[in-house]
């Protein structure tokens, strides 16, 4: 059974603006096939970074968005019923291990803890994946690497990574870029002028200050890109900001009003 490696390749260069040394560090981690964990608030560019690195290293990338209902067999594979019996179907993790792809498990904490343990044998020196239901032991392809992303922002008691999982990874800590950089990113990504981009970033900072006061997360760079895109398309900045920055992140009337005021005060 062979899988088309090409379909998982990233062909176009994704726009990624490095914040620090993360690109070289990642390359070093990949050279040594160390598992990588990227941490950071939502929408700060974690997934974009991995995509960029896959492109840079020219390796296939298999992304799995984790969720609560995900089970170990969703990762590893399962038997399917067919007319004449059953057939084994590889899960994404198995596929990645076979073809030598970078397997990116997005928002790993969303998956239940009993699911996350299946990745353990792949992350240490063994680099194997036992398929106990099938009675097969896969030795990972030399190019295979495991990457997980993890958002400590909404860490609840229930949703945290086990120490035994955490300690199998090297980690990058991401945060929203600083004001100047974020402005540049907005301008580059959407083509919006610098002045308006700077205002958007200012509004984002207002919301980020409110984190913990009724907001779980501040306005992400991703939302700023949405707002900038809308403005670029000719939408009134006040409307665009309300629609893309405020309404998505909160249902709290007080916070909404405060942020609306910040928008008015910024775009005067």
């Amino acid at each position: 059974m062979s899988t088309d490696k090409e379909q998982y390749k990233v062909h176009q260069q994704p726009y990624y603006q490095a914040q620090g040394k993360e690109v070289t560090l990642y390359e070093a981690a990949y050279r040594n096939r160390l598992p990588v964990m990227v941490k950071g608030p939502t929408g700060c560019g974690k997934s974009r970074f991995i995509e960029y690195m896959a492109w840079k290293l020219d390796k296939p990338l298999i992304t799995v968005a984790c969720n609560e209902d995900m089970t170990a067999s969703d990762l590893v594979g399962r038997y399917l019923l067919e007319a004449n019996g059953t057939r084994w179907l590889d899960g994404p993790l198995t596929t990645a291990a076979r073809i030598g792809a970078i397997c990116y498990l997005d928002e790993i904490v969303e998956a239940r803890q009993d699911t996350t343990v299946v990745i353990h044998p792949l992350t240490d020196h063994r680099r194997t994946l036992p398929l106990d239901k099938k009675g097969e032991l896969i030795h990972a392809h030399p190019d295979f690497q495991l990457v997980i992303s993890y958002n400590p922002g909404y860490q609840s008691l229930m949703k945290d990574l086990k120490q035994s999982t955490k300690q199998r990874f090297t980690a990058f800590d991401f945060d929203y870029p600083d004001t100047a950089l974020e402005t540049t990113i907005l301008a580059k990504e959407t083509g919006l002028d610098e002045a308006t981009s700077a205002k958007l970033v200012k509004i984002a900072h207002t919301a980020r200050n409110l984190k913990g006061h009724g907001l779980d997360e501040g306005i992400s760079t991703r939302l700023l890109v949405y707002a900038a895109t809308l403005i670029k398309d000719g939408v009134d900045p006040l409307d665009a900001c309300r629609m893309a920055l405020v309404r998505p992140i909160t249902d709290d009337a007080d916070i909404r009003e405060t942020l609306d005021h910040a928008i008015d005060a910024t775009f005067a």
């Binding site: 038997y79 019923l81 405060t258 910040a262 005060a265 005067a268």
Partner: protein
């Protein structure tokens, strides 16, 4: 009197028309007539004199007539002459009722009231309130044939102008309504209430005030400070309602930012054309009494032709201004500067700070400009008046507003110098002070020393008093000293915890009575824990049976969910059956997987025991009291819950009027079911009455803080909520029902176990379907744990 001779024949005719012999009237007659003639029409004069004549003949002395003659012309100016018949009808009503004494205060405050109301229609509504008030508080006491005058009415009239300054008519109606409802039977307290002496009178007034109340927007303002300015200063409101003489000004110090407790919306006419010469119109709007404002329109920017600055925006700029000072102002040594110099430095510094704020958020400028007065350039006459304030306010306007339109050369020069300075960066308080001092020196006039100061349009009310801007090396003798340390009197050692206040629901008006009930929490006294162990031994057989049920209930970690189309594992039994179906040609069931679910119990329980007097009664069909049976039942329940491992608290309550609701702590969540808790349970006693709502609210604040998924409050009671200070049975029942609703909103499930066989009449009213009535109280010890288990299964 006949000897009164008037020169003018017309005056003479009027005097005759008045037909009175009162001396004091004669004294003022000419003056009031002059005023009346200037205001009223000819028919109006006739009606006026006729009304005055009638009032004079009421037999209530000269006072009412005098009041009417003085007040009516100015009142007529604002509400129109045609409003007179309604007023007269009112007077007649009062005259016919025992409230004749109130006529004078009614007439005396007529003019100020009319000024606030401004229209006949609103005057009519005011009279309706008065009439309703009068009819409901004028009472006859059983056994007496005489009726008694309304105790609160004269006081109410005396307060009416003030009230209308603070409240809308609807708010006034609510305030009056509250007073009548709660104090109809207490003449003395009614007087206190309507003369604004009692605490709840002020509290209700506060609640009903118009404008944006601080307490409604406190969170928004906190968020505003955090979000836009990264400040987390404590906000402390000061009252603006009762300081008529000296309006407090916002300020900040170590303890927090002090801001008014209410801000009204400000409506300004939109400057026409160039916006020049519009100053007068602007000020008029600023000083317009806010009761005159129509109901607030939803749009922040009002209709065409006006700007509306909402109360919350006023709060925001006030805070922003203070934040600006905290960021950019360095305290200056004040000793060597005169008060005038300091004032100038303050004006300049305020403008510098606001300029910097607007750099941060340009949108603030619109609000600053709308709220900043716009003095008219030649409004102040330097020959007779001290114009310093006026000059400074003009300069301040000009520094902020590029379209100020002033022509004074010095002013323009300094505006330019100010902007040049600000263009270099953020400047500093010191540099600004130098500029300010040179401005004072340059524009100084001898008349600045005059006692008459031009104040109009010079107060910028969103600015703080700048007390943080000054450092005094020596104690000066001409200023108030804010920094002075106050002597602290050591407060008395508190006995027990201070009371917590809870509101109570008043179903008549569908409102809460603010801070109505005081709950005192205390540890329950201790008894002998061995008694409880004995009780448990006595119910040994029952305990064994419970134990078996408990073992079944204990959390089992994994539960299998079968028949899943998607699941973690194949369910072989079902899969085989499906396969057989499939091979046999039938449609197979696709739900052949199964998955697991962890089944953690996460319940916090609060058991609230009614410890009122009635528990001391013997239970029917036995010789144990209800109290003893409850004790046994609670012991068993506590034991059972301990076995299960759910966090669990027990408390008892009883009440002796609204001022003394006792909440007795028996077992807390973090306490074990050990000797301490058992000892307290053993000493359980029953006393007083059952004010259930307050106890539930208090218990809920503990339960609410628990992190559990499910929160359960069990209430064990033997009767309906009641207390000795409440005559209306329904009141506390309705309050308890409201408390259940509140708890429900907080995610707390309430469940009542009633031991009152007649409970059906009211208990479903309070708890909906969440109750059980236990008829056979003898079986309570076994029923209670069973019930709990059934509830939490």
């Amino acid at each position: 009197m006949t000897e009164t001779e008037y020169q003018h024949p017309l005056m003479k005719a009027y005097w005759a028309q008045l037909d009175t012999g009162f001396e004091p009237i004669a004294d003022v007659f000419e003056d009031v007539m002059a005023e009346a003639l200037a205001i009223l029409s000819r028919e109006g004069i006739d009606a006026y004199l006729e009304a005055a004549r009638v009032i004079g003949k009421l037999g209530r002395g000269v006072q009412p007539m005098l009041a009417f003659m003085e007040e009516w012309p100015t009142s007529a100016k604002t509400i129109g002459e045609s409003g007179l018949p309604a007023i007269m009808a009112m007077i007649q009503r009062m005259q016919k009722s025992p409230n004749g004494k109130a006529i004078t205060p009614f007439l005396e405050t007529l003019a100020p009231v009319a000024r606030k109301l401004r229209s006949q229609e609103r005057m009519g509504r005011y009279l309706d309130i008065v009439l309703d008030f009068m009819e409901r508080t004028t009472g006859s006491i059983h056994g007496h044939h005489t009726t008694f005058p309304s105790p609160g009415l004269p006081d109410f009239f005396a307060q009416a102008p003030f009230l209308l300054g603070q409240l809308t008519l609807a708010g006034m109606k609510n305030w009056v309504e509250y007073g009548i409802r709660n104090y109809r039977g207490h003449p003395e307290r009614q007087k206190d209430y309507f003369s604004l002496q009692s605490a709840d009178s002020r509290a209700v007034l506060q609640r009903e005030r118009h404008g944006t109340l601080f307490m409604d927007v406190e969170r928004k303002l906190d968020l505003y400070l955090h979000g836009l300015w990264r400040e987390s200063e404590q906000l402390v409101p000061y009252s603006t309602a009762f300081d008529e003489m000296r309006r407090p000004v916002p300020y900040y110090d170590k303890l927090g930012m002090r801001i008014p407790d209410v801000y009204d919306d400000v409506i300004l006419p939109l400057p026409l054309g160039e916006g020049r010469g519009e100053g007068a119109a602007l000020d008029l709007a600023l000083s317009v009494d806010s009761t005159l404002l129509p109901h607030p329109r939803p749009l922040p920017q009002g209709g065409r032709g006006e700007i509306r600055i909402t109360g919350i925006d006023r709060y925001r700029v006030t805070l922003a201004h203070m934040v600006g000072h905290r960021r950019w102002t360095e305290a200056q040594i004040a000793d060597n500067w005169s008060p005038f110099q300091r004032m100038a430095v303050e004006f300049f510094e305020d403008c510098r700070v606001e300029t910097l704020l607007c750099r941060e958020y340009p949108g603030l400028k619109r609000i600053f400009l709308a709220l900043h007065p716009k003095p008219v350039e030649d409004a102040c006459d330097p020959e007779t008046t001290s114009c310093l304030r006026h000059r400074m306010a003009m300069l301040s306007r000009a520094l902020l507003d590029p379209d100020h339109g002033y022509g004074d050369a010095d002013l323009l020069d300094y505006v330019r110098r100010f902007h040049d300075l600000m263009a270099t960066g953020i400047a500093s308080t010191k540099e600004i002070a130098v500029l300010a001092l040179s401005y004072v020196a340059k524009t100084r006039r001898q008349s600045d020393q005059l006692a008459r100061v031009h104040f109009a349009d010079t107060v910028v009310d969103y600015r703080d008093d700048n007390r943080q801007m000054w450092k005094f090396i020596e104690d000066s003798d001409d200023e108030e000293m804010f920094e002075k340390e106050k002597k602290r009197t050591p407060s008395e050692e508190l006995k027990g915890l201070p009371p917590r206040h809870y509101p109570e629901w008043d179903y008549h008006s569908q409102t809460y009575r603010p801070d109505w009930v005081s709950v005192y929490e205390a540890l329950h006294p201790k008894g002998n824990p061995a008694d409880i162990d004995k009780l448990l031994l006595k119910h040994g057989a029952l305990a064994k049976r419970l134990k078996r049920i408990l073992d079944l209930l204990k959390p089992q970690d994994k539960v299998r969910i079968r028949y899943q189309e998607e699941g973690s594992e194949l369910d072989l039994d079902v899969a085989l059956r499906s396969l057989i179906d499939f091979k046999g040609g039938a449609t197979p069931d696709p739900r052949i997987n199964m998955s697991h679910r962890t089944n953690g119990r996460d319940i916090s329980v609060m058991l609230l025991l009614d410890l009122s007097e009635s528990l001391n009664e013997k239970a029917t069909g036995g010789d144990q009291t209800i109290l003893e049976l409850s004790q046994e039942a609670v012991s068993l329940l506590a034991w059972a819950v301990e076995q299960l491992g759910d966090p669990f608290a027990i408390a008892g309550f009883h009440s002796n009027t609204r001022h003394d609701v006792r909440y007795l702590h028996i077992k807390g969540y973090s306490e074990r079911w050990g000797d301490d808790a058992k000892a307290r349970l053993a000493a359980m006693e029953a006393n007083y009455s059952t004010r259930m709502g307050a106890a539930m609210r208090h218990a809920a604040h503990y339960l609410e803080a628990r992190p559990a998924d499910k929160k359960l409050m069990l209430i064990l009671t033997d009767g309906q909520p009641s207390d000795i200070d409440t005559n209306d049975e329904q009141l506390l029942i309705e309050d308890a029902r409201q408390a259940v609703k509140e708890l429900d909103r907080k995610g707390i499930f309430t469940y009542c176990i009633s031991l009152d066989p007649k409970a059906d009449e009211y208990v479903s009213g309070i708890f909906g379907r969440q109750y059980t009535v236990i008829d056979n109280i003898q079986r309570l010890p076994e029923k209670l744990p069973e019930l709990f288990l059934a509830l939490t299964k």
